[in-house]
């Protein structure tokens, strides 16, 4: 008993720095956000308790509901595209091709670039107003018009943000998938061939893809969280426009700061609950799937 207590003491001592950091930088801010979500506050002076008024405000605010729709639209566009491209790149660079290491580095480099720099770069390249960027001019030279994503077409604005986000984040998915692919035992591939798997597509469909399920699950969870909380691409490329068409929940929250921190905190609480619920659903869905190894 004494030894177990002693061992536990050491255990707590070693995890205490991490625990303290998590408590100070995660638990405490979340607790403060929940507290402020029940108050009226503008950073100045003392918060005033208003009960659930901030949540009632959100429920009646069209802009809030539209931001939720925009967030879901962004998720639907961004998550499959970065995971899909990441998987495609991982399969490519997993093959023995010339300068494979170089390609891996090239595909990974965008991850090292900041979202702000990437956003500015994409805005320049794809700008449709006031001065057209490289790609709109290229299309114009062959008589085609680039979608007016900065002005009239909010749907395309979200597509452009997704394009930048995918270019930036696919390298992360690629690396994770690459690790998953390299963890697949060669003997299983040989066994599958004996069992009748003939084409590369069949090998991918019946062997590789099922074996990558845990990796895909990890990526879906992380990219959903990264995407939902994504702020910089929108701030840099569209500032939530045109006409609020790219105002996601995070950007809505930003718009409410600092004048109405209580409403921003209530929106943050909704975001937190939403992300937790999404993750829970993903965990439940994953737990029902067969595990292959």
């Amino acid at each position: 008993m004494r030894e177990r207590l002693h061992a536990a003491g050491w255990g707590y001592a070693f995890i205490s720095p991490a625990l303290i950091l998590v408590a100070v930088f995660l638990v405490l801010p979340i607790g403060f956000m929940l507290y402020i979500s029940l108050h009226k506050w503008g950073l100045l002076g003392a918060p005033t308790f208003v009960g659930l008024d901030n949540f009632v405000y959100l429920a009646n605010d069209d802009r809030f509901w539209r931001s939720i729709v925009n967030t879901i639209f962004y998720l639907v566009l961004a998550v499959p595209s970065q995971i899909g491209l990441g998987l495609f790149l991982a399969i490519l660079v997993n093959k023995k091709v010339l300068a494979r290491e170089g390609f891996r580095t090239i595909f990974f480099i965008p991850l090292a670039i900041s979202f702000v720099a990437a956003g500015i770069l994409f805005t320049w390249m794809f700008a449709t107003t006031p001065i057209e960027g490289f790609f709109p001019r290229l299309l114009a030279s062959v008589g085609l018009e680039f979608p007016r994503w900065q002005t009239t077409d909010a749907g395309w604005a979200m597509v452009m943000i997704t394009l930048m986000n995918t270019w930036k984040s696919a390298g992360y998915c690629m690396i994770v998938y690459l690790a998953g692919l390299q963890g697949i035992n060669k003997e299983w591939t040989e066994a599958a061939a004996i069992d009748g798997v003939r084409t590369q597509w069949q090998e991918f469909r019946f062997l590789t893809w099922p074996l990558l399920a845990p990796t895909t699950f990890l990526l879906v969870v992380t990219t959903v969280i990264f995407t939902v909380r994504g702020f910089e691409p929108i701030f840099v490329m569209t500032q939530g426009g045109p006409a609020g068409g790219t105002t996601t929940l995070v950007y809505y929250l930003f718009d409410k700061f600092p004048d109405t921190v209580g409403i921003a905190s209530a929106a943050g609480t909704v975001l937190l609950v939403g992300v937790l619920a999404l993750t829970l659903v993903q965990f439940l869905a994953q737990s029902r799937r067969a595990t292959y190894y």
Binding site: W10, A13, S16, V24, T129, P130, Q150, G241, P242, D255
Partner: protein, 446 residues
């Protein structure tokens, strides 16, 4: 041995706690006043002067444009003030980006915290929030005791500095947007260059006629801003010029407002303008994509480099001339009597001709006092930069954004989205701005 190990584990736990606690402690606790600015909660910092015993330290948080203007301020104006007032030490702190939330975070610091701002530079739109939170010193009382200073401030600028019937801050510098015009394109299109006198300058009809003639090939007549808070600022000029009531928040669904918005929508719909999400960016004008752009005097250095002929003229007039007065204020926060005395002494120096003429000629912004505007040195500078007469002449006709606490929510996103709906999504002006007024009314009623 066991007891020793147990002791070590407790020691390790205590060390971890103390590291975490010290990391989270107030910067003030770990650094003596004035000795370590790097622990500030704000952004980039300026080298800190030492505070002599008995002198009052007053922190000034600002976003004076980095480069020549900030260098001039730090190296010439601050030392000059220090020589006049050895009992005061002004400690400037460059915030990097003009962000109201940074200032509010600073004001949330304890009254005795050495990092708390005692004076700060910010646009007037925050005034209402400060008054509501009761963080400002009695500027109105101080100014009333100095009638020679108060009377010297340009009335329109004094209005910008006021809220709820009292002067709440001191004007540091003022500016407005005016119409930059490409004189070469005007000449080519046969459009006369308008007068720089706001009472004699072009009318809305002449402006509309000009943008039609100036739209040729890839060049458009005008630039309309969308998707940013900038559009609400420039809207104020058109609204006031159309006869809108500027005593408070604009009546967004009034005939003047509808007329002002419809006028710009028509220009855009007719293909005589292009849009930008960054109205302050001079690139479309510099790149000769537009013949006219509304922009501000802070682009002084860039304009001087242009290789084509250009000048600046006032906004076109409808019922009356108008300009969208902006600029930055010196806010003075509540503090000790010594700190407030030093802050007001600095405010007095800031409103002197020496400061105003020096600062505005370096920055390109406009003086806030009558005497500085009439100062011989400033007159000479204006003679060397004749285009600036448009800005100076417009100032008396300036209207400001209302500094009510809800302003931040109304300008962006409410107005921005309504403006975008009209300009980009072809929404009906009357319907959309009536809806906007209802949204604003609902917000103000809360």
């Amino acid at each position: 041995m066991n007891r020793l190990s147990h002791g070590w584990s407790i020691l390790a736990l205590a060390a971890a706690v103390s590291i975490a606690v010290s990391a989270c402690a107030s910067p003030a606790a770990s650094s003596p006043a004035g000795s370590d600015a790097s622990s500030s909660p704000a952004g980039p910092v300026t080298p800190q002067p030492s505070v002599a015993p008995g002198a009052a330290r007053v922190n000034l948080w600002h976003t004076i444009p980095a480069g020549a203007t900030e260098n001039y301020f730090n190296n010439t104006l601050v030392p000059a003030f220090a020589a006049m007032h050895p009992e005061c030490v002004v400690v400037p702190r460059q915030l990097g980006v003009e962000d109201a939330s940074l200032i509010r975070t600073g004001l949330a610091l304890d009254q005795n915290d050495p990092n708390r701002p005692h004076m700060w530079w910010l646009a007037s739109s925050e005034t209402g929030a400060y008054v509501e939170a009761d963080v400002l010193a009695d500027v109105d009382g101080w100014l009333s005791s100095k009638p020679e200073i108060k009377d010297n401030i340009i009335p329109a600028v004094l209005d910008v500095s006021s809220y709820d019937g009292k002067v709440r801050s001191l004007p540091w510098m003022t500016n407005a947007t005016a119409m930059w015009i490409n004189a070469d394109l005007f000449e080519k299109a046969g459009v006369p260059v308008p007068s720089q006198d706001p009472e004699q300058t072009w009318t809305w009809e002449e402006f509309a006629d000009a943008v039609v003639k100036l739209t040729q090939g890839d060049v458009k007549g005008f630039l309309v801003t969308t998707s940013s808070g900038w559009d609400f600022w420039t809207y104020h000029t058109w609204y006031a010029s159309a006869g809108g009531d500027t005593s408070g928040l604009a009546d967004l669904d009034s005939p003047a407002s509808i007329k002002a918005v419809q006028f710009q929508k028509d220009i855009l719909s007719n293909g005589q303008a292009i849009t930008t999400t960054q109205g302050w960016d001079p690139a479309p004008f510099f790149g000769q994509k537009v013949a006219i752009q509304a922009n501000g005097p802070w682009n002084y250095a860039g304009l001087k480099e242009l290789t084509f002929n250009w000048t600046i003229v006032p906004y076109p007039r409808d019922v009356k001339p108008a300009a969208n007065l902006g600029g930055d204020q010196l806010y003075i926060g509540k503090g000790t009597p010594e700190q407030e005395a030093c802050a007001f002494a600095f405010g007095e120096y800031m409103l002197s001709d020496e400061f105003q003429v020096g600062f505005q000629t370096v920055s390109g912004n406009l003086p806030v006092t009558k005497s500085a505007a009439e100062n011989a040195e400033y007159k000479k500078w204006l003679a060397d930069n004749p285009a600036w007469a448009a800005y100076v002449n417009q100032t008396p006709y300036g209207v400001a954004r209302p500094p009510i606490p809800e302003f931040g929510q109304i300008g962006d996103p409410m107005f921005k989205e309504a403006w975008d709906d009209v300009m980009l999504n072809n929404a009906d002006v009357t319907e959309r701005f009536t809806q906007l007024q209802q949204e604003v009314d609902a917000l103000l009623a809360q």
